[in-house]
């Protein structure tokens, strides 16, 4: 399990971009999707998630805006940029080629 976690953690940013390509979202929603997709075997720590958000913002792959929830704390939504879409396609290609290579090596 720890190897799986390490590999997933290495792709945190690509996973976030993959979510934002479908629609704008916020931290908990993204984490919840990850939990549901992995059948509750994997989830990101908040701290990991936010440092990833900050890195993506710095690279201008995503931008953020505040929602206006009537009650409680406001949600911070993230939206992918064109630059982010390009980065996602590139990172996905990288992963596909790495996956193919590892498959061959482990046969």
């Amino acid at each position: 399990m720890s190897i799986t976690s390490d590999i997933i953690r290495g792709h945190t940013e690509t996973i976030i971009l993959a979510h934002l390509i479908k629609q704008d979202s916020y931290g908990y929603q993204i984490n919840k999707d990850i939990m549901e997709t992995t059948n509750h075997t994997y989830e990101l720590k908040e701290a990991t998630l936010y440092s990833a958000f900050r890195r993506l913002e710095q690279a201008e792959y995503i931008v953020s805006y505040w929602g206006n929830e009537g009650t409680g704390a406001r949600r911070r939504y993230y939206s992918i940029t064109d630059k982010g879409r390009k980065a996602y396609e590139e990172q996905k290609r990288d992963w596909e080629s790495a996956k193919a290579m590892i498959d061959k090596l482990l046969q």
């Binding site: 701290a47 936010y50 440092s51 949600r75």
Partner: protein, 227 residues
């Protein structure tokens, strides 16, 4: 709305730098933690267990604090460097002003001891003015070194500092312009007076300078208003 979660985050963020980034991170964490908490409660988890689960999912937020603070130190180093440079310029400029005054004094003393035929005090005075051009230019240059204030840390305090800095900078430029104006007036007064010997009328030049200063101040005000 769970107050315990808010209190927990308040406690954690006591050690965080007081920046807007930190406040926003806290608000973001709080809204996400509350969403998670409510989902757990709806799923049938007890309040106590839900709280523990949410807190453990937050993880080590303190490792994020460094990135919220880092940029402040860099700015301080730049400011100290700039301040050192300006101190050197100001010291040298003051030295030059004193030197020019010594030149005038020397010429006057020599004149009182022996008569060469030339108007030594006037020559000394001219030399003083010519020497004074250098430190005046240096001071004007050192004021332009300030540049627009670079807001490194996105806080309300920094916004105030920016405003304060800019008005201070405007003031120092205005003071430099004033100093140049009045030294020029004094030079003109003596030159015209010595040439024409019309001492009874030449004082009017000071009134003209007063008008000029009013115009300069007005120009600065207009520029400030436009900004």
């Amino acid at each position: 709305m769970n107050e315990n979660l808010k209190n927990y985050l308040d406690e954690v963020f006591k050690k965080a730098p007081k920046t807007r980034k930190a406040l926003e991170l806290k608000e973001e964490l709080l809204s996400n933690s509350q969403d998670r908490y409510e989902d757990l409660i709806h799923g049938g988890t007890s309040a106590e267990d839900a709280y523990d689960m949410v807190v453990s999912s937050i993880g080590n937020v303190e490792e994020l604090f460094d990135s919220l603070q880092e940029e402040v130190g860099m700015d301080m180093e730049n400011r100290i460097e700039l301040r050192k440079k300006m101190a050197v310029i100001k010291t040298v400029a003051t030295g030059l002003y004193i030197l020019s005054f010594v030149v005038l004094l020397l010429f006057t003393i020599v004149d009182s001891m022996m008569s060469i035929g030339a108007d030594l005090p006037l020559i000394g005075f001219m030399l003083m003015i010519i020497i004074d051009i250098v430190p005046t230019c240096m001071l004007v240059y050192s004021n332009s070194l300030y540049g627009p204030y670079q807001k490194r840390e996105d806080t309300i305090v920094e916004e105030f500092k920016e405003w304060q800095f800019n008005s201070k900078r405007n003031k120092s430029i205005r003071n430099a312009a004033s100093a140049v104006l009045w030294s020029l007036t004094l030079v003109l007064y003596f030159i015209i007076s010595f040439v024409t010997f019309a001492w009874y009328a030449t004082w009017i030049i000071f009134l003209a300078a007063l008008c000029a200063q009013a115009v300069i101040i007005l120009m600065f005000r207009l520029r400030e208003a436009r900004d």
